[in-house]
Subunit: 398 residues, 2 copies
């Protein structure tokens, strides 16, 4: 009856490491998530080797728990977000999303071409500079109780737009690798699918829930509202992958829809234990993928610092300019909020590696850059938000 | 960014199937768990094939979620159980545990020998008749709000003893297969380890928590009590596999320890959403392992019915006689509570298959018997408990 005992040990190690890392980070006045990622790096193959995540595959139990963790995290962030609030910052979020994709893509292409890639491949490399990981920022905003601030709404709206554009961009650069050029009609269909999905689910779902949330509380039903919205969360997370979007976008929409019901407060409370158990897996596993050995050579380390600097500055710049209507301080918060690439960058780098576009060295650099941006952002964002106090709440939406 | 979308679909299917199955079962006045197991059978390879569990391996993501689900279930059952209450029924639980192992082992050996196995192999086959799966019964008792009844305490105490004895028995019959005989000293060491673990954790842990649970509520700590007891739950679940016991025994002890703290009520509430999300995986995955194709031939079906009848009657008899001091009605409840073999029987059958003791046909029969007992028990147990009303609560513990 020893079955599954190894995985239980991994679960225990990851969970305890997250708690210890989180506690240390908070004593150092850093967001807990920094400690969880650092704990992952320490118990991962780089240092202690207590857990060994797959670099490219995503089907191991720990990866699946990490995925469920980040899906639930974005679901809970959605629960604290109203469609109305997102609409108010729509223009700003759109600008932040578009500029936050274009600037990193342009600077990333220039760097890649400068490093010796031909233009076709440079565009693929640049795609890994683009996509923001909403999970890291969402966690920091939630930890600091800042989800109701205008900057947070802009960041969340922009993250949705960012994900759509990044998906399209990845489609284009992938088809360019075959030398076949790209099919504009196909691209428009993909775009239409993603936008249509978000519009139907977000707008339609919110209306249905607002008008008709009493069916969730039928006393005859043995299902608590929680069961129904969890099913909605898993279903929309899967559905959003069908239209090419990240699972967390669907989970965020599910939470946003559920926030329109009268059970919103109960649901928020019931989601807390789920987050407590499962989100640590996402952050620890993310941290465990940081491979310090790859960065041992001085030359690689220099390249990494340059790439990370480009990734941070380009995203910050795009977000800052896009959000200038909120004032400079808020625009800085928004810009930094878009910086983390996290697991999304890792996924694109894996695609590049398996497509034969990336060398092992570029792969290691892009992965490390993605994870470094995830490490660097939380303390800066926390510092900016704390310094700013509640000023941002008064800023006018665009 | 399509990563992990297949597994998200499986999660969605399993979760929704569990809800629908549970709802239908409850409308038929059956325990919800029956519907969840049946839903697993329907979406599994036998019929729809929407999910395909591994029969022998236990490392797939769905299996791990199932394992976490049953670990949390027994943790929450532990939260509703005080060590003091278990002590009061100690003698009865011991009798039920011992007789509930001996009678099925004896009858199982006779059947196996009668089917043509030599005595050595017959003892291994009989070991698969022995071990009770506490998860199924615990869920039914929890669903019916019957965990505070004397019969429930006896069943839980007996399940712990059952697990110790089954582990020892499996050790003995495994070493017999090599023809080397068994090492009594080794056996006593294993027994000492298991009993010592339970005594130290259960008795010592309860005392520590009762005297000193204020440290859980230090305001300076960023960890909620939930995080600490979840770490305890995972840690003890793993630790109990180290001394040869099932992970759920450790989880049950962790819950029982945590029930001594002043946060017991809060913890119970916080555990509910975790159970809601994760226990369906255990029951649906259990159901999905029922392989109806294997049972298509009339002869196999007859053997299965005979084996299942032996498994049910032998366990019922052992439990009934052991619990007779509670009166006949309560003794029947206890006896039926010990009947489900569930995933424990499946694990032993897998061991027998890989050890070359079981043929494919015997393996299929033992697996089907284990799962059939898990299907049959909940409705009978629910009927017995409802018929009995609160009579059992007055019965004297042995």
């Amino acid at each position: 009856m020893h079955h599954a005992s190894d995985i239980l040990l991994s679960l225990f190690i990851v969970f305890v490491a997250a708690q210890i890392g989180g506690e240390i980070a908070q004593r150092l006045k850093l967001p807990g998530v920094v400690g969880e990622i650092a704990a992952g790096c320490i118990i991962g193959p780089s240092l202690l080797g207590w857990i060994v995540p797959e670099q490219t595959a995503t089907g191991t139990p720990l990866d699946v728990l990490a995925e469920i963790g980040v899906v639930l995290l974005l679901f809970s962030v959605g629960l604290e977000t109203r469609l109305e609030d997102l609409k108010k910052v729509g223009t700003t979020a759109m600008l932040v999303g578009v500029l936050g994709v274009l600037v990193p893509f342009a600077l990333g292409s220039l760097w890649a071409h400068g490093s010796g890639f031909d233009w076709n491949k440079s565009l693929f490399v640049a795609a890994a500079f683009v996509a923001t990981s909403a999970g890291i920022t969402a966690r920091v905003l939630q930890e600091l109780g800042a989800l109701q601030r205008t900057e947070s709404k802009v960041i969340l709206g922009a993250a949705v737009i960012d994900d759509i554009l990044a998906m399209l961009l990845l489609g284009v650069v992938t088809s360019l690798q075959g030398g076949e050029g790209f099919d504009l009609v196909h691209l428009l269909v993909v775009l239409g699918g993603a936008v249509g999905f978000i519009a139907v689910i977000g707008w339609g779902g919110s209306r249905v829930m607002r008008w008709n949330s009493t069916w969730l509380e039928r006393p005859a039903s043995p299902h608590s509202p929680l069961m129904i919205v969890l099913a909605l969360c898993l279903g929309l997370a899967y559905a959003s992958t069908l239209v090419g979007l990240a699972a967390i976008i669907g989970a965020f929409l599910a939470g946003m829809i559920a926030s329109e019901t009268r059970q919103q407060h109960t649901l928020e409370q019931q989601t807390q234990p789920l987050l407590a158990l499962l989100t640590p897996f996402f952050f620890v596993i993310t941290g465990s993928k940081i491979d310090l050995h790859q960065l041992a050579s001085g030359e690689t380390l220099l390249s990494l610092l340059l790439v990370t600097a480009i990734a941070i500055v380009s995203k910050l710049l795009g977000g800052f300019v896009g959000a200038l209507s909120l004032g400079k301080r808020s625009a800085t918060v928004v810009g930094f909020g878009m910086v983390p690439r996290g697991e999304v960058g890792v996924v694109i780098a894996s695609l590049g590696l398996s497509a034969g576009v990336f060398s092992d060295r570029i792969y290691a650099i892009i992965v490390a850059m993605s994870l470094l941006t995830a490490m660097v952002t939380p303390p800066v964002l926390a510092w900016l938000l704390r310094r700013q106090g509640d000023d941002g709440a008064e800023a006018k939406p665009g």
